[in-house]
Structure formats: C-alpha cells, structure tokens
Amino acid sequence: MFFLDNAWLTWALPASAFVVILFFGRRLPGKGAEIGIAAVGGSFVLSCAAAAQWIGRGTIGEGEERVRGAVDHTLYTWFSNGQVKVPLGIHVDGLTVMMLLVVTLVSLLVQVYSTAYMHGDRRYTYFYAALALFTASMLVLVTSSTTIFLLLGWEGVGLCSFMLIGHWWEEKDNSDAALKAFFTTRLGDAGMLIGIIILFFANGQSFDIARLNRAALSGGIDHTVLVVGAVALFMGVIGKSAQFPLHTWLPDAMAGPTPVSALIHAATMVVAGVYLVARCYGVFWAAFRVGHHPAWHGISYVAVIGAITIVIAAALAFVQDDIKKVLAYSTVSQLGYMVMALGVGAWTGGIFHLFTHAFFKACLFLGAGSVSHSGSHHSFDMKKDMGGLWRAMPITHATFVIASLALAGIFPLAGFWSKDDILLTAGKNGYNAFMVVGLVGAFMTAAYMARTVYLTFYGEHRGGHHGGQHSAAGHAVDAPHESPLAITVPLVVLAAFSVVAGWLNGFGVHWFAEWTRNEVVVQAHVPEYKFSAPTAALSMAVAVAGIGVGLLYYLRHAFGPLHRATERSSLARAGYRFLLNKYYLDVLYTDIIVGSIKGAIARGAYWVNQRVIDGAVNAVGIGARALARFTYEVVDQKVVDGLVNGTGASAEGGGSVLRRLQTGRVQQYAAFLFGAGAIGALALVLYANQGAR
C-alpha cells in the first residue's frame, strides 16, 4: 500500500515546487510554470495510484459494517508536552482519496489553463508559486490525521487565497478584497481554534480525528461539551465555506485572476469547511443528533445554516451583471447544499455534491475566463460586453452549457445525481422542510443559470470597444474568437467530468458511496437510500421549470408584468435595491463593525493610553520633580537652611545631598529610588517578621 502510506508525497511535491519556483522560477525558460505543472501532475499521478490501491483494498466487517480500513501513517512527532505526543501524520480513507483526486485534477487543469490565461502577467512566476503552495496546503488539509495539522493546511489555503485574490495589488479594490477574505475567514477561525481546543481536552488530550469521532459516537464525550465544541468548530466552517452570515467575502474574492476563482473559490478551498464537517462527522452527528428519528424536531444547526445560505445566495445571483459574481453566489448557494446535506444526515450526498460540483463549477469559471480572455476584451460584464458569443466560441459555449445543465441538475449530468441524493436523504430522514428548501434552491439555480447562459452566449453581441478591466495580457484582438488549446482542453476535460462524474453513484451503481464509506459513517449508522424515481422526477421537474421560466423571461419576454417592475413599483424597487446591496450585510460588517473597531474603538483605546495611563505616569514624574523642588526650595533653603545657617558650616554637606535631588539626572533618581527601596525593604522585613510570629 505504498501510495496510501505515503500520501504525504502528494503535498510534499508541490510544497517543494513552491520553494523552487519562488527562488529559481524567474530564471527558468517556462518562468516556473513547468515546475508547478510537473509537481501537481506528479501529485495527480500519485493520487490516482492511491485511488487504485484504495479501491483494491480489502474490506473488513460484514454487511452493513463492511468498510475499507483507513491507513494511518506518522511522519514524526510534531511536538510533545509531557505524555501528550502530537504526531505529524496522515490519515487516508475513501474521503481523503476522493479529495486528493479532485484537488490534484482541478489544480492541474487550472495550471495548464493559466499558461495561456496568465500569459505575460507581471507576476506570472509568483502566481505559479502561490498556486503550488495552495495545492500543497489543500492536500495537507485533506490528508491530516489531527485537527491541528489540518489547521495548518486550513490557514495555508487562507494565506494562498489572500495572495491570489490580491494578485493585482496595485489596485486598492483587489487588496481590499484580499484583506476582507482573510479577516472574514480568520474570524471564523477564532471559533474553530476554540473548537479544536475544547475537543482536544474532550478527546483525552489528543488531536487525533479518528479517535475523536469514535469517542463522540460512543458517548465518551459529555453532550454539552460536544455541542459547544461542534458549534465553535462550525464557526470555522461558516467562514471558510462562505456560509451565511460570513459569506460576503467570497463574491469580493472574484477580484483575483479567474483561474484562481475556479480553483480556490469554487472547486477546492471553499469546500474545506464542508470537508471538515464530513471528516469530523462523528462530532456533528452526535452533537446535533442528526440521525435521531423523528429528526430531533427537524432542527439541526448545521442544516439551518446551510439552508439559509442556499436561498439567500441564490437570490443574489439574479441581480448580478458580472458573470463571475453570478458564479460566486452560485458557489455560495451550492456550498449551502453541501452543508445542509451533512446537517440532515446525507453524508454521501454532501461529499458527492462536493465532488461533482468541483468539476462543473471549475468548468463554469474557466469558461467565464475563456469568454473574457477571447470574447469580451477582459470584461466580465454580461450586460455590457457579452451576448451572442455562441457562434464565435463554440467550444467554450458547449462546455459552459453542459456545465450549467449539470449545475442545474438535469438528468443524467453530474449535478442531477448528487443533488438528488441530498434531497432524497433529507426527505427519508424526516427533514421535509429542508427538502423543500432544497427544491426551491434547485429551481432558483436553474433559473439564474438560464439567465447567465442567455446573457452570455445568446441574443445580440454587445461587445464594447473599451479597454480591458484587467491588463493580464496585452494581445486583445478585436473580434471575439475561440480561446487557445491550453484553455479549451481543460474546459473539455471538465465538461466531460461534469457529465460522467455523477455516474459513479447513478444508474443503479453505488461505487462512490462504497469507495468513500469510512469507519465513522459505519459507526454512526448513517443511512443510505436507494435511488427513488418520484424524488428524482420531482427535482428534475423543478430544474426544468427553472430553466423554462428563465428562458421564457429573457427569450420570449414572458411574464410581462414582471419586466420593468422596478420602474413601476416602489416595493419591487426596494426589494431589488435590498438584493443589490447584498442585504446590507457589507455595510454592517465593513462600515459599522470594522469601521468602529478600526476607528472609534482603537482611537479611543489609544487616547486612554496616551491621556490616562501615560498621563498618570507623566504626572508621577512631574509630581516627583515638584516634590523635589519643594524639598529644595522650601524645606531645604528656608527651613533646614534657616536652622543650618544658625548652626554653622556643617550645612554644606546636607544641602548638597538634597540639591542633587532636583537636577533631573538619572543617577540621582536612581539613588533616590534605591533609597526608597531600602526603606521599603526594611518595612517589609519588619512586617514579614510580624506575620511569621
């Protein structure tokens, strides 16, 4: 089992590539891109080999309990504290292998794509360095056997996200977006840090995740502690996987180059939160009693957050004119699906949706990038610069439509199977309300994707003549045309996966479910359900209706009263503005909360520092000088000297001692303080003696 035991090689390779590219990349003929592609390609091959070994691995247990045993491998002791030894190790099971494949494949395709898309960029080499570091961090995250090592990968992807969103940091908007992403996720991470700590102690002072799951499921951890730990841990998920109410950073993150949006903000990093819940499922399962029938009053904290996210993000996708923003809100909404799935007990459905979504969403983002690269003069504005591109960009068009249909959940494409699994399980587990939310979300998804496809590829071409928004490449050509092979090949590959990825768990086979099954799922008795035609028909009908409504509205101008409703009805206008302003959450966060901390509160604290605390210090200094002056001028010169004058020459000595007090020299202060200290010492010793008696 070489490739399973040594799955750490998958991250060691790109991590080394990062160092090589950073220090030597600029001197290489390919400017570092070749190193990055080779390393991630190597990781992909290793992942495939690991997958093959995993599938070939024998199972243990019988019937319902049948499962492939996870592989644990410790590299070295990371740190220790007395008896507590924290290993730096990997834990490989079906979930890990699946993530390895997704991360390395999408990373590889994005790197190939970027050779064309980022060609001639100012910081081409650094871009590749950051991509390599990102892949390494993400692979650390998914292979880690401990929460603390997972946190390293977690923060690592956050760092890379920061670097890549702010890739064009000359413009303040981009660096603002980078900072916002980092702060928002960091806020969630503060909670996650506490969650990790609580669960560390609950788990008998161990960070080991497998052990944690076992303890949680076997009732070895007090339920209250478990709930607090799970809620805290989930804060990290809310931040990283852009769940309501911390989702606002993700749309802004589109300021980064499009391949980054595809890789980080759709296919991999943002699913880290979903992965965390799936990985620590024992904790969430036991804490929120996900599996209890009747469904613990139908409420699961995780599912509620996911459900809210599905709807609020999908609604926002309708009012965006920027194609990447539509896709960003779509990502938020789909992440909501995954989180909700895990919240209602659809473990397989959740990670299956993660799997399929990675392909079609990466395809959509890269397609949007292809459009801007070759069709719209580096603009992402669907209303101003796109439309009618299907003729000029046949491959981009075809792949984009396929991926959109997959996202909308049309049979038999990938998204259909995963979404169906979620809806089915939600219903069967008794979470009917969440199933309804899922269906509403499916309708909205289909509708906004219909709008997007229509605005981008059909209708009149609205291409303007203004210069590009991003100066990534200086070879803008006048007429829209198809992108080069480095761009279209990844699109085709991803489109192909968008079609077939779902078949791993469709058409009556359950390979995906079987391969990803792990010991946690078995121990928790997470239920699996067979495909059900009525549910599938329902979700399919909803999706078709969504597309139909969307197309009718834009193509045929149906639903007349709705058109220009914002011009006629103040209520519609208010609603539209509410959506345009993203429910005013950004105003609340950026202007009110951050603004007041940065402004009034910080300045207030500093004022206290300078005026009150330091003021007191200075007052003591001034007071001491005043006292010294008083001692000299009044006590010494008038009183003492008066007496001394009477007694004669001995005055000289005493006067000069006291006179030194007020000269402000350090040495005298020192002597003064030591004198005071000596007196104090005497007092203390006397007091202490008293106390001892």
């Binding site: 220790s80 901390i597 500093y606 605390i613 203390l684 202490a688």
Partner: protein, 508 residues
C-alpha cells in the same frame, strides 16, 4: 566534567564585556577595525554557544548544566552560581544570535551621531547583561545582570535615538528602575525568609515554607519588577516611546531579548520559589495578560507610525506569553517560552524591517508609504512574510507561542478558576483576529498599491548584503521552528514540567 563544561557559560557571559574593553583600545579613526573586533567577539561568543548547544544533554533538560558555583560575596552569602537548563538555553541562544545579527546589520547602518566604537561597546556590554541574566542562579547575580542591561540601553536610546530621545530614555530608565527597586525588595525578603540565601535552587526548595501571606507580598514585589519589563498592561507605556525613539538595533534588542528578561524572571524565580503566591496572583496576571492582548491590538490599530505599531503589537504578543504563564500549566509555560523565542525572531525582524524602511524613505509614517512591493519587492515580501508570522499563521514560529497558550487557558492548573480562564481563552482567540487586522492593514498601506507621489521618483535600494546576512538566519528560524516545533518544545518540556510539578497538586 571537562574544562569546556566548566567555563563555557562564563565565557558566553563575559567574553562580550571583555571584548567591549578590548574595543576601547582600538583607535577612534579605524572604524573597520572596530566593527571587525566587535563582530569577532560576538562570533566567538556564538561559537561558545554552539558548543554549549552541541554538548547540552537534551535528555535531562530539567537539570542545570554547565554549572559553575563559586564563592563570590561571602558577607551576604551571594555566590557566583550560573547554569542553564531547558528553559534558559533557548533564550540564551536567542540573545547570543540576535546580537550577532545586530552587529552585522549595523555594519553600514550606524545612526547619527555615528560613533560606531561607542555604539558597539554598548551593544557588547548589553549582551553580557542579557546572557548573564539568563544564566544566573543567584538572586544578586541575577539582579546585577538585570540592571547591567539598563545603562547601555539608556545611552543607546538617549544618544542615538530619534527627536524625542531624552524623554523616552529617561522614561525607560526610571520605569524599569522603579520595578527593579520593588524587585530587589522582594529579593531581600526572600533572603531573610528563605534561609539566608540568594541561591535560586535552594530558594525553590525553601520557598514554599514561607508563610503564605508573606509569599503573596513578596510576589507582589517580584511582579512589579518583572511585569514592567515584560511589559504588562498597564505598565507598558514606556515601551512605545522607547521603541519609537530607539535606533533600529536598539529596538531589535529591546523587543527580541530585553522584554524576555521579565517573562523569564516569572518562570525562573517567581513561580517556582513562591508557588502559593503564584496561584493567588495567577488570575490577576491572566486578566492583565488578556487585557494586554486586546489593548495592544487596539493600540496597534490606531497607530500611524510603523515602529510604534510594532511596539504596540509587542504588548499584545507578550500578553499571550503571560497568559500561558498565568495558567501555571506545562502547556502554558512551554507556549510561553516558545512565544518568547518566536516573538524574538519575528518582532526582531519587524523592527529590522521598520528601520530599513525608515532609512530608505526617511519616514515611518504609514500613510506616506505605499507600493513597497513595487519599489523594493524583496523587502516587501519579507515584510509580508513577517506580518504573516506575527499574526500566528500555523507553519511559522508565531503560531506555537499563541495556540498552546490559548489552549492552556482551557484547563488551568488546579485551584484556578476554570470559568475565568476559559473566558480569557475566548478573549485571547479574538485577539488573534485583531492581530490579523493591524498587521494586514499595515501591510496593505505600506506594501500594496502604487508608490506615493512623494517617493515615486526616488530610487529605493532593495535588500542590502548586510541585511541579507543578518536576516536570513532569523527568517530560516521562523520557518524551521514553525514546521518542526518539536525542536524547541523538547528542549523546554522537561524543564517546564520541573516547574509545574508543584502546581499539579493541591498542596504547596
């Protein structure tokens, strides 16, 4: 024991000051000779330190090693007793290597009024004071070295400092001296109550026999001496002024080593000698520590001056160190020592960078800077790296000072109020978010964007050769300790358990 084991530690302590005297004989005009001598002396010290690191028995980190114990001042029973264990060793190494980096950095960076000879002499005297403090096992010896540090730093700020140097220098001096006065009081009380001895290991043995009310009083004296040095809120106001006015190298030494004298004092003296009092005081120390974390972060957010911002961030970071100490647990103390080393490397680097930036642009006003990544990309990258390290990114050294400290607060030593410390834990975790805030906003304003119109035309030299030589070891250290924290934890762990053993039981 061979000769090396006997004398190496004394060598590390006294070679610098002897070197300073030697430097005094080098003619004033021969600056290169002066620098070479100073560098040589620091390297000899470094060589001895490497020998100590190599010969140290890492399986017995709780034992004092390289011990020298000789008669010194008989009349007050004070002995020349030095030695290192797993707690002192990393800090001693930090002090030795940071000094080398400082001498290399200052090669062609001597601030006005120049005079490298005097500057380097002070630096070497300073090193003797710092090294001695970390090795001293006798209270009077400790006190002498502790105070020896004051004068060179006073002159460094007062002579080579910025426009407001007089005020800052005197404030620094008096503030710390005030603490020292109370500290020596505590030492004297320990002498009389702890069996007429200043010997620290003996006092550790005798200390818990001191009457509890007396312990609490003595601890108060030690607390003032150490807390001012750390500095803990609300005794921190000397720090921003001292840092702002100090020359770059002074700031680096101040942040990297001097502040640790205070935290080291807590771990070496206050906690083990007075365990009962430590437990009584721990909640207050913890409270001031978390106030410091938030307060320092808010102070940093309000700053417009680069150096002052880093100075306030020190208050926050030392808050994490003190929080770890206040839990009286092995996790907390390990974290504290790790935090000291990490803070030494990272904040030391940040002050180097602030100095280098100020030198290039003649201003530290953050709003006037911008576009550093355009004009000096390497400098900009290093600044970004250090900012990330400072905000506690896992995989870099800063994380291992912060995270275990927060962790230790979840389960403080027996007898401490668990709910209270868990509240501290939450506040400290919020502090990590604020840390990201002030560091990244600083980075955005200085490094991102285009250079401001004011500096757009000037040529900015990217990182110089002496800067590379001085910084590379620090940067590598930040990565190495971050990736492999065991390297440091396994040095401190045994010794830390020796200190905390007394707190794991109820009796003391």
């Amino acid at each position: 024991m061979n000769v090396f084991d006997h004398w190496a530690l004394s060598g590390v302590i006294f070679v610098p000051i002897l070197g300073a005297i030697l430097l005094g004989f080098v003619p004033r005009a021969q600056e290169t000779a002066q620098k070479s001598v100073a560098l040589l002396i620091s390297l000899v010290t470094g060589g001895l330190m490497v020998g100590i690191l190599a010969r140290f028995d890492y399986n017995a980190t709780d034992k004092l090693q390289f011990v020298t114990d000789r008669r010194w001042i008989d009349v007050i029973h004070s002995r020349y007793h030095v030695g290192v264990d797993g707690i002192a060793l990393p800090l001693l190494a930090l002090s030795v290597f940071i000094t080398i980096a400082c001498i290399i950095y200052s090669w062609d960076h001597f601030p006005e009024p120049h005079n490298p000879k005097a500057f380097l002499m002070l630096l070497l005297v300073l090193e003797t004071g710092m090294n001695g403090t970390f090795c001293a096992e006798d209270l009077i010896l400790f006190f002498v070295f502790f105070e020896l540090v004051l004068l060179p730093m006073y002159f460094m700020i007062g002579v080579w400092g910025g426009p407001n140097r007089q005020y800052a220098a005197i404030k620094f001096f008096l503030f710390t001296l005030f603490g020292s006065a109370l500290m020596i009081l505590g030492f004297l009380a320990l002498f009389f109550k702890g069996g007429n001895t200043f010997d620290i290991p003996t006092l550790v043995h005798n200390g818990s026999a001191i009457a509890r009310s007396t312990q609490v009083l003595i601890f108060a004296g030690l607390f003032m001496g150490f807390a001012i040095k750390v500095p803990m809120f609300p005794f921190h106001t000397w720090l921003p002024d001292a840092h702002t006015e100090a020359p770059t190298v002074g700031s680096v030494i101040l942040a990297a080593v001097l502040l640790k004298l205070g935290t080291y004092g807590f771990i070496r003296i206050a906690l083990p000698v007075l365990p009962y009092a430590a437990r009584r005081w721990a909640p207050w120390i913890g409270l001031l520590a978390v106030i410091g974390i938030i307060y320092g972060a808010l102070g940093s957010l309000a700053q417009r001056d680069l150096k002052r911002l880093v100075a306030f961030s020190s208050v926050a970071h030392m808050g994490f160190v003190m929080l770890g100490i206040s839990t009286l647990t092995s996790f907390g103390l390990n974290a504290a020592i790790f935090g000291m080393v990490a803070h030494g490397l990272i904040t030391g680097m940040l002050f180097f960078l602030a100095g280098s930036i100020a030198e290039r642009f003649n201003t530290r006003e953050i709003s006037r800077l911008g576009g550093l990544l355009v004009q000096a990309p390497r400098l900009g990258w290093i600044l970004g790296f250090c900012a990330m390290a400072s905000l506690g990114l896992p995989g870099l050294a800063g994380f291992w000072g912060e995270f275990p400290a927060i962790l230790s607060a979840y389960q403080p030593a027996q007898g401490l109020n668990i709910a209270l410390f868990r509240a501290f834990m939450v506040v400290a975790a919020v502090g990590t978010v604020l840390a990201a805030g002030y560091l990244l906003w600083m980075y955005q304003r200085t490094a991102f964007g285009e250079p401001s119109a004011e500096f757009a035309a000037i040529h900015v030299h990217d990182v110089h050769v002496p800067e590379w030589i001085a910084w590379t070891p620090l940067l590598l250290g930040i990565v190495a300790f971050g990736v492999y924290p065991h390297a440091l934890f396994h040095v401190t762990d045994g010794a830390v358990h020796g200190v905390t053993a007394v707190f794991t039981s109820r009796a003391s």
